[in-house]
Symmetry: C2
Subunit: 396 residues, 2 copies
């Protein structure tokens, strides 16, 4: 219990942007997130009051976080399962619990379990030799069973030659068929220990180089049957796996239906749009779930919502004779983030920005923007224009 | 500049709920509010990382806040004007500046200036003797020129006898006619140093014992002419007084039009509804203004928005034989805030709650709720029901 407010304290392992945005939601609930941060300048550590510095692989640090918390939850999936079991053995409430979270930590465990449950998944197999992949056939996708994210730990394989190198690295691997996908979708739900589940509309997620760059809610043109199937699947998986908190089910839409790509058990990039686009954001919902509060309404606040990720470092150097353009007299590459924010806000006064307090390294997610409205093309254009100003320092 | 993000730092004097909610908005902008808090357990100090403990009447403490900030702004109006002038003389950017803020600090200065500007105000006069009030006539309203808020520093006067006592206390006083009001309204705007002004729709504010208990946006049944007049008045005052940041113009609606009651130059209770109810919240807008960013869109996100304040301590003791009621088996008076939140969220999953991290003292504003929708009666009912659960521990 917080000594001041008498409310339960939520401890979160990790202090990146997910923790940062969860902290914003916690404040409204009368809370203040207790964080285990790897570094004092992690995005969430910059803005919260109760921050422990320590590593998520250090059981002593995890115990210190737990000591001041009624419930421990996560900004990422990288805590070793044996540490989570040790916390549970200590009597700590861990949500999602280790037996659920393992399905977001280990792709082999996840695939096996989803197969058991009859969930639609790609053809797959564990890999311990080159022959396992050869037997499976090409083209194929090799995935590190553990530790991958944002396209890392995923390799497109066309021949046996490439497999041995990955095996030599010692990473546990699985192989999957390359799914002939129409597009990617995500079905995001939240589940409380009481068993209540709430689902947001199914969204389309657009990737570039394995990194999510845009999310459109609801997924344009998705048939109602398929939308319901995806939501029901996510709800069923949340219950069967015993998830508490947000569960994001990343899906491939194919000509013949949907298949599950990945699971995440925490607030997820595919639902950042919910901050402005839904009556209850995924960050508030995750907190409500892990606190076993009743879940919030998940209706949309506008017919269309588009979230665009801001990736750092994509600065185009200025070309001679090209400036001033768009009313500013500074070459884009010399424009500070603060100046870019000025331009973005002037250009798109209705677009909301979320910056994560990170350095602008190439390819790194350093923020996102959200646009809402009645006309999808217009909403998408506004989101892209805002992110273009921030990323490139010029109008799109 | 923040050493990590390269963005300007906003310092805020005071760490109550306004600072707490401004901090939430700051996080989205990549910022983290730098606070001067009276106590370490002030609402905003509980949730922010960069907190100085010190008194707003201590110039040294104000200078310490300013030293790490690109701009200094306020959670309240109680900083002595001479200290603000000293900061400005130091070269500190103070928004709103002392020459603007004085109109929210000193009702005599405010009334004089508004009279000069031809703004609609009640008949009024400065008071230095009982005779000043007698000359003015009864019934009358006596107000402390400085330091009043939430109904404090305002006295309803029917006879000369009551005046001398107030004069003896040494408080500078003004007298005003008791305006025959139909209802109270508020016109809230924000202005940037660049001179851009953005207005939210005019709202109705409902008071009880001088404390705001409910705000309805937009003000129901307000004629378009009067709404535009109120907005134009607020915009003109923001410009004439040189306000930077949010300006709340509290208005009386009378049978013959509107008159200005009070001014506030900071985020204001009459615009808490903007967090969910407007594309840009007053907290984000205040930050955009003091940072001289372009202002955000102020459109509504639903046809009607109702905010209800949660006042602490209004616990009705249980009556025998009355419980269980509404599905719970605990007498309301014994129900913790955490348990009340459970019931409130179960009853009203679409209502948003904001708790300020305060102890539940009688009459104290400890939080608020916001409901949105198409039907005003229904929206108002939902907001009241949610606040009733939190306040009384039972269904309404």
């Amino acid at each position: 219990m917080h000594p001041r407010t008498g409310l339960p304290v939520v401890g979160m392992v990790g202090a990146g942007q997910l923790a940062r945005m969860t902290h914003q939601a916690a404040i409204a609930l009368g809370q203040s997130l207790r964080l285990l941060a790897a570094h004092p300048d992690d995005g969430a550590a910059l803005v919260a009051s109760d921050v422990l510095i320590g590593d998520h692989t250090d059981l002593a640090a995890l115990r210190k976080l737990a000591a001041g918390s009624e419930v421990v939850t996560f900004d990422h999936e990288h805590v070793p399962p044996e540490h989570l079991r040790a916390l549970v053995a200590d009597g700590v409430t861990v949500y999602p619990g280790p037996d659920a979270l393992i399905h977001a930590q280990d792709k082999q465990v996840m695939r096996s379990r989803l197969a058991e449950l009859g969930a639609p998944i790609p053809r797959w197999a564990p890999v311990t030799s080159v022959a396992d992949v050869e037997r499976f056939g090409f083209p194929a996708v090799l995935k590190a069973a553990r530790g991958g994210y944002d396209g890392r730990g995923v390799w497109m394989i066309d021949s046996a030659d490439q497999v041995q190198e990955l095996l030599n690295a010692g990473t546990p691997l699985i192989v999957e068929e390359r799914v002939p996908l129409v597009r990617e979708l995500a079905a995001v739900v939240a589940r409380s220990p009481f068993g209540q589940v709430a689902a947001w509309p199914v969204v389309e997620t657009v990737q570039r180089d394995g990194i999510n760059v845009e999310v459109v809610a609801p997924a344009p043109g998705l048939s109602e049957d398929l939308a319901i199937e995806a939501q029901e699947l996510a709800i069923r998986l949340a219950a069967e796996l015993g998830v508490v908190g947000v569960l994001a089910v990343e899906l491939f839409e194919t000509a013949s239906g949907i298949v599950v790509n990945e699971l995440a058990m925490r607030p997820h990039n595919s639902a950042h749009w919910t901050i402005e686009g839904s009556r209850t954001s995924q960050f508030e919902q995750h907190l409500r779930a892990v606190l076993d509060y009743p879940l919030g309404a998940t209706g949309l606040t506008a017919p269309y919502v588009v979230m665009a990720n801001l990736l750092g470092g994509d600065v185009t150097p200025p070309r001679p004779g090209e400036y001033p353009k768009g009313g500013h007299d500074k070459p884009p590459a010399q424009m500070t983030l603060d100046e870019r924010i000025h331009h973005m806000m002037a250009a798109e006064p209705g677009v909301k920005v979320h910056l994560y307090g990170k350095e602008l390294r190439p390819g790194r997610k350093v923020g996102h923007v959200t646009a809402l409205g009645d006309d999808l093309d217009e909403v998408r254009r506004r989101a892209r224009r805002a992110v273009h100003w921030l990323r490139e320092g010029e109008d799109s």
